[in-house]
Amino acid sequence: MTRLPYVRPMQGWWRRNPYYVRYMLMETTSVIVGLYAGILLVGVWRLSQGQAAYEAWLAALRQPWAVALHGFMLLAMLYHAYTWWKVLPKTLPLIHVGGKPVPGLLLSAAGWTATLVISAAVYAAVRWWGL
C-alpha cells in the first residue's frame, strides 16, 4: 500500500474560521495598548520639556484625525477589556464552592465590573477632584 502523507499548508489559517478572526482581533488590540502607551510616553516627554512643549502635545491631540484615532482606539480597548476578562478564568485553578465548580463567567463578570467601577472612579477623579 502506498503511503505518502499529505501535509496541508497553514498560510491564511486564521481567515478560515470566524473564531480565529476574533482571536486575531483580540491579539491586535493588545498591540494598540502599546500604541497608546507610546502616545502617553511622548506626553510625559513633552511634559518634562516644559509648558510650551506639553501644550503643543495637547494641541496635537485636539486635531480631528487624533480624536478619530482615539475613537478607534477606544473601541479596541473596550474589546480588549471584554476579551481579557472572558479568557482570564482559563488561567485559574479549578475552584469548587459547596461541591459545585465556580463558573468562569462569574469570574469574567467580576472583571467587567472591576473595569466599570475603576473607570468611573478615574473619570470622577479627573473630572471633579484636585488630582
Binding site: 502599546g34 497608546y36 507610546g38 510616553l41 510625559v44 485636539r62 482606539m73 473595569t115
Partner: protein, 118 residues
Amino acid sequence: MKRSNAPIFWSLFGAGGVLSALLAPVLVYITGIGVPAGTGMPSDALAYPRVLAFAQNPGGKVILFAVIALFLWHAAHRLYHCLHDFGVHPGLPSKLLLYGSAFAGSAAAAALLLTIGF
C-alpha cells in the same frame, strides 16, 4: 528538555493586560476624546499645572510609570506572538527588538519622570 524563559514575559504581559483591561478604555477616552473634543470633560482637566503636579507626586509617578511600562511589555509580548500567528517566524533578533523596545520605553519613562522632579 530546556526550561522556557517565557514566564518572565508572560507575567509582564499578564500584569499589563490586567492594568490595560481596567484603565485603558477610560484613559483613552479622557486623553483622546473627552478633553480634546470637550465631551464630558472640562478642557482644562489636563492643563499643564494640574498634570505637572500629578507627575511630580510620587504616587503619580508610580501610576504613570506602571501604565506606560506595563502597557509596553503587554504589547511587545502580544506583537511577538502576533507575528508568529501571521506566519512571520520571528527569531532572536525580533525578540530582542520587541522586548528591547519595551525595556527602552520603560527606562525612558522612568528617566523622564525623575527629570520632572518632585
